[in-house]
Symmetry: C2
């Protein structure tokens, strides 16, 4: 029995392994990505692979009266031309919430940009040439390209047929309402009429939120390959297991005959959640009889998914002393031509409407509405980002009406830890008052203000975690290094780094000994999805449990070898120790298997733990959406300048503070973009700013003068070491803070984005 | 609680899952392979891949006085030229038993065909052109190209430096003997001198066995790719985990930074055991900075590995009544220029020398000897194939001398089940007397014989199983299908089919629900190797245990759901049943995880179980090498015709009788080839029949008139359902049977192969 011989010896190893959780460890993929060596789906080829391109509808609404790919198919190098007629021996429709979307247009198109044909060819140029040779005759139909148009009683209907629930609908009955309603979410608590009657002050208004684009650097890319063993997909997808389920359902295959492999992803932000280009690529590959890769161009990605634009009406009432009483809200979300995640966005928006306050009555209706525009889906903090600024601007308005300081108003009304956010759900697990006080302080709350400078706060909650189901395995190799298998998609958020830290700490080894693999559904255990701020909390917990399971096996082996109780042993520096004697993990594996090798496998799972409160289904934890802003407005131009911006990452435990900060800062800055200038502009359903020259996203020039990301660690999360997820909240907190900073200047903004023109007009109106 | 809803309903599923173990289920890869859709390493490409070609030494022994790849490197399309000077930042030598082999020649070449340079280029033609442009000056050195030449006291020495043990030497001290001895294995039991003195009859002789080629249809093929995460190898290797270990050792990487992926293999027979072309390909890719694929041509494969040719002296004594007394044997195995698996072949040959008899004394020396010929390694039944026919021809000679029928002689002397084969090892676990009686009967033992027709028997044992270390995982998906992860290489032996059957039976589901993945060291659990007839017995046991672990989890869940004891439940048709109520696996997973999905992971491992006898290290089980033959000789031509051939597959339990038979028949026919005509011919170290036109392997024309493969199922193996491995024994049993059939005609053959010329000469000598 000797101390472990690994690397720089036991002492060095023990030092290296001491508490890497909580430290700002450099990303494990930093070098690879900085060197340009990291492989993304678009960097991959498979033998015999063809290049796919998609012909898209020029019309927002039309009947396809004729489509003829014969001439295109005869071009040299063209291997397959796919149209709606090829959707045989499969379910032609998909959609995780509602199966309303054809894999490729069948007789009818519902938005400008909808795929009507696809070509697989030997190279992209040939495929593009073939697209031009496809003959399509359209009969234009009346289109409903705005929420207003789609809600008219005589609006043209996008979907005539009854809606079929998708595999992951999960939002109750799909009772079809009239017209273009895709989904209706409603709830009410208390007696609204009586509550409003008792309110001494009320505010009321209509609000709009623009369609915005998630803008991940990597557009959607998919490779599909069919073989005797089924379908293999390489895709930049955030939810490999849900994509697998949808593809299996679509092609009527067992789950284990669909393999989804996820290389590095160049940003997701929700744009790569659920199923996007995978069915089309798979169907094209099936027809071509060869593997096919489709890489969206940016303008194609922009008509593949987007954030819902919204119209909303809200009324809020409070008592004379500033106690909130009642809120009523009606929300219309433009989900575009197909549901995608619209139902869930509607539900989440509805849930976000009340905000974290102590109401006597609330009543909320949220509708996802079909329009002849590109489908809208998930985007960071969806629902909460739509509603928080609305809800919080009415809180500020009430504060002003009751003569209270907005911070004080919130202190009086905000829920406290342990209080029910909604009946029967997860009680509040965050110190909102503490958090908002911190951001207020960071933006100079209470300090004297120069002219045309305003300050605002915003507090909201986001139901985070999605379904708490993740599984993981940790494989300890004979040299004491370990491979972590977990199906989280690494899309820049740093999950591999965080899992490395967790596994290293649980096993008491240097993080250099840990390697976290990417998702491959045929090999890496089930994970519900990457999104909803869930990965550190849920997948991370599964990794922690798998590593702990492994550690327990090692402790048991050492205990047996020494004839000592496990309680007298500890792990440290890649070894099990009893006082001054050590058995390295290598030694233990050698004793267990003999000299040739072998490995130990630890398993971990997270599943809904009803009654325990730790992994509840709704939600797993509450993510705070708290922002503070100090803005300056140029009255001559309407230009708004953010002087100070603060947000809170209330993460329970920052497993990697550097990554927490990066997530929070990124979300804040996307919040600035959404609040100030991002907007997809449509004319008659045509996207007219579908390039990154025309569609502006935040750059370093948009950074506030001061930028505070405040990490709060109260160990009140259900994740490893008390962690809660992060990365969405700030995006929903920042716009409200900016809107309320304008409100502080008497500017009542009800439409985003706050372009100079719009602000200038508001200033004029006010004067 | 409803009966399971899968597929054709519970009854169909239950019927389909009833006892697939023991049935001749069609190979799971049959369609794929018949359709040409199965992917082998040579079918794969990776992005940016270059094509590698190897320049080989024209001399058996030479000094490289100058090597200049500059001109080659300047050719357009050439990306790297590798020579021995590039073996920096790594261990330049590899070898799992002895690290004696340079990755590419360093200053000196030791056999004709040894790689001296390698080129990576944009295509194969350019690479070949570049090979021709590499300038090499050689100074020829004296060569020892035969065993005789290499054993002379003044023989040129191939290796001057002390031998370094490889990672998997495992055969005791590497004390260097004089000259060209690579390894010396010896043992003796009892007093040899006294025993022989007591022997009434003795026989003695010298024997030779030729160098033969394993001839797998697919030559060695490797793709190597370096990335930020280390080295990835796709290779047709039988031992992915041992290759991983050697590569990690060579390049000083952690095990988890080397990934070895094994696509389908087009036959192995030992030729792809351990490490072959992987280090060279990896080093070339490292220099090129891009992935490289090297595909051996057949003539290159033939100088990459082969079976050891052998010279041997043996003496055996018996009592007047036919009781065997003593045997003495000296074996010289020509291991070629580098050790490869020579030490283990020497040990196995030594162990095979006594045969399964009750000796009073034995003494064996076996030497692996270096010569200036291509390295010799593993080939089906190595060692046993070399020695069994020698040992058994002396048994027949003793039978004749003592006037006993050879079958009767064996019945009196053969070990019986439970007897020690060698002290302290695994006791005999096969009914040899029963087995040999069966083959005797199959070849007409005791029936009248036409002129020039002889019959022979041969009985031997092979220490099978190598090290009993395998691990496996079975992943049950939400739809009740399961993925089996196990690192056995599917090389045509049918392991994926057998594992499918085992997992299906343990889980009580249809085999259509099971998918067995190929080996990928980053994802599939540790397996020692594919070879030594071990996979069904050891990896199969790990799969069985993993599936059983999963089943136990399902039973526990159902027991908890019903509040019933596990003992009152059973699994059947993809469901857990209590009397007439069922919970399908799908239902159980849904209850456990909620509706979104999830998976259950079963783990299984096999490791040496000292003392229990079930998974002993030496050996795991005894594989019988039993053949019977009836041959007819044409005295005019010496041509030998096999009229009847029989072998025994004493498998404990035939999990798939069709595959057992295929293994046994293949081994028998390779035995025929080795016995009758296969021989690699060298002149001054140059292989002169290095094509498949010149090197003859058995074809359907060589099939015996009657071909019996007798499956014996005594459930006496340590594997699943009492299984023992199969596939090697017949190759070692058949040659002895043929040799003894000649002996039956008075023809005393001591050299293989039994070419017509050789047999004709023996007939002449006899006359």
């Amino acid at each position: 029995m000797k101390p472990p011989a690994a690397g720089g010896g036991a002492a060095a190893e023990a030092a290296a392994s001491a508490g890497v959780v909580g430290t700002p460890m450099r990303r494990v993929d930093a070098e690879e990505k900085a060197a340009g060596a990291a492989r993304f789906t678009g960097d991959l080829t498979v033998p015999g692979m063809l290049y796919g391109r998609v012909l898209r509808s020029p019309f927002a609404s039309a009947r396809i009266t004729r489509i003829d790919g014969a001439a295109a198919g005869r071009l040299p190098g063209v291997r397959a031309v796919l149209t709606g007629r090829d959707l045989v021996d499969m379910d032609p429709y998909y959609g995780h919430a509602i199966k309303d979307r054809p894999v490729i247009a069948i007789d009818r198109v519902r938005f400008a940009g909808e795929p009507v044909a696809a070509v697989a060819a030997d190279d992209v140029a040939t495929a593009d040439e073939a697209l031009a040779a496809i003959e399509v005759d359209y009969e234009q139909l009346p289109a409903a390209t705005t929420l207003t148009a789609a809600m008219r009683p005589d609006a043209p209907r996008l979907h005539e047929e009854p809606l079929r629930a998708g595999l992951f609908h999960g939002l109750g009955d799909l009772r079809r309402e009239d017209g273009n309603i895709c989904y209706h979410y409603r709830f009410s608590r208390g007696d609204l009429g009586a509550a409003f009657a008792a309110a001494a002050v009320t505010v009321e208004g209509e609000y709009t939120f623009p369609a915005v684009y998630q803008y991940a650097m990597e557009p959607h890319t998919v490779i599909a390959q069919w073989g005797a063993d089924g379908l293999t997909i390489w895709a930049c997808c955030q939810h490999p297991y849900l994509v697998r389920a949808e593809l299996a359902d679509l092609f009527r295959l067992p789950l284990s005959s669909v393999r989804v492999i996820v290389p590095y992803i160049g940003g997701g932000f929700g744009s790569k959640s659920y199923t996007k280009m995978e069915p089309l690529t798979a169907t094209l590959a099936r027809k071509a009889g060869r593997p096919v890769r489709i890489v969206n161009r940016v303008d194609e990605a922009m008509v593949t998914t987007r954030r819902h634009n919204m119209s909303c009406w809200m009324r809020t009432g409070a008592a004379r002393d500033g106690a909130v009483i009642a809120r009523e809200c009606r929300i219309w979300l433009d989900t575009g031509a197909y549901a995608d995640n619209g139902p869930r966005v509607a539900a989440t928006a509805g849930d976000a409407a009340p905000g974290p306050y102590r109401w006597k009555a609330v009543g909320v209706d949220a509708w996802a509405v079909y329009t002849n525009t590109p489908p809208a889906g998930s985007y960071r903090a969806f629902g909460a980002a739509h509603l928080s600024w609305v809800a919080e601007s009415q809180i500020d308005a009430l504060a002003r009406k009751t003569g209270l300081d907005p911070l004080e108003f919130r202190r009086r009304n905000l829920l406290r830890p342990g209080e029910d956010v909604r009946p029967g759900g997860k009680p509040l697990d965050a110190d909102l008052i503490g958090d908002v006080t911190k951001v207020a302080s960071a933006v100079g709350w209470g300090e004297p203000k120069p002219p045309m400078v305003g300050r605002g706060l915003s507090v909201g909650l986001l139901a985070a975690g999605a379904n708490p189901v993740s599984t993981a395995a940790v494989r300890l190799q004979a040299d004491g290094t370990a491979v972590v298998l977990v199906s989280t998609s690494e899309m820049g958020q740093g999950s591999r780094t965080v899992f490395t830290q967790i596994a290293a700490d649980e096993l008491a080894v240097s993080p250099a000994r840990i390697r976290v693999m990417g998702a491959d559904t045929q090999f890496t255990p089930y994970d519900r999805s990457t999104g909803a701020s869930r990965s550190t909390t849920i997948a991370g917990k599964a990794v922690q449990r798998a590593a702990a399971d492994l550690r327990d096996q090692l402790l048991d082996m050492a205990a047996a070898a020494w004839g000592l109780p496990v309680a007298s042993l500890e792990v440290r520096g890649g070894a099990v120790w009893h006082e001054t004697e050590a058995l390295s993990y290598q030694d233990l594996i050698k004793r267990h298997f003999g000299m040739v090798g072998g490995e130990l496998i630890g398993r971990g799972e997270v599943r809904p733990e009803r009654g325990t409160g730790s992994f509840a289904e709704g939600p797993v934890f509450w993510e705070v959406c708290i922002g503070g802003a100090e803005v300056e407005v140029d009255p001559e131009t309407g230009r708004l300048h953010v002087r100070r911006l603060a947000s809170v990452a209330d993460v329970g435990k920052a497993i990697n503070p550097l990554l927490v900060e990066a997530q929070d800062e990124g979300a804040s800055l996307q919040g600035v973009g959404n609040a100030l200038f991002e907007e997809m502009q449509f004319e008659d359903g045509q996207l007219i700013n579908g390039t990154l020259l025309d569609y502006r996203i935040p750059s370093t020039a948009d950074l506030p003068d001061e930028f505070h990301s405040i990490i709060v660690e109260n160990a009140d999360g259900p994740g490893p070491y008390g962690a809660k997820g992060v990365g969405e909240g700030a995006q929903a907190g920042v716009p409200g803070a900016i809107v309320n900073a304008l409100g502080d200047l008497g500017i009542d903004a009800r439409e985003l984005p706050l372009t100079p023109e719009r602000v200038w007009k508001l200033i004029r109106e006010k004067r």
